[in-house]
Symmetry: C2
Subunit: 141 residues, 2 copies
């Protein structure tokens, strides 16, 4: 790789959103997506999502650097409605519609993409915009 | 999958951050990470990152719903320093240190994780906190 003009990144490992009530958000992501918590404390919660990591940060708690045994995590913090999308198989989109209804999560919008994919949009308790996306959205998915 | 109590998500497909100057941010992500633009307009820019998608949104431009041919993308918008991490191979971490220095991107901090991974932290032009992470960070990476 040394000859490469730009060293490569393999993919996005961690995505994060900010929430006002970490316990409430944790319950939401566990009950709606069945995600497993890898680590959590008063500052944040890390969920395993396949090979990826979803981080929830409590708003304001990461405005200062976090000192760990192995170094310092620099500050970050956002306000407002974040956004990210989960990939799903087209086979389960009807299961998702039924399951979201059962969980009383309202589908706010739906987009049918030119390439054939479908996106379902809804909100977490902090108004972050979540998306479930089937293949046929992007050239690489 | 119909018998599953919770339908499954496969992974995180799209991650997004907000930027004040879309052209400047686009140049940064192209030059520093060699990312390919899949789609861009005045509102946003979508980069391919392996099997994932990195979305840059111009701050304020997604406060209103976006009407597309296939439906409506609901509003979202954040202010402040967002955060996400790229996965890299441990083989290229020294190449990354050299390349970031050459690009005049300052490594703000470095964390050595108990499981053996390393994280390099630095900023994009909008102060978003970026991380390059080698395996040995999380139970699933």
């Amino acid at each position: 790789m040394t000859n490469s003009p730009v060293p490569r990144v393999q993919g996005i490992l961690e995505s994060c959103i900010n929430v006002s009530d970490l316990n409430r958000a944790q319950r939401f992501y566990q009950s709606v997506f069945g995600l497993e918590v890898m680590t959590s404390d008063e500052r944040f919660c890390a969920f395993q999502v396949g090979h990826d990591v979803l981080l929830l940060f409590k708003i304001g708690e990461s405005k200062k650097p976090a000192q760990l045994a192995g170094g310092i995590i620099p500050p970050h913090d956002t306000l407002g409605a974040g956004h990210f999308a989960f990939a799903i198989s087209p086979d389960v989109i009807e299961d998702w519609r039924a399951f979201l209804a059962k969980q009383e999560v309202t589908i706010e919008s739906e987009v049918r993409w030119e390439r054939g994919g479908t996106s379902l949009y809804f909100r977490d308790p902090d108004n972050n915009l979540l998306e479930l996306a089937t293949p046929g959205i992007w050239p690489n998915f």
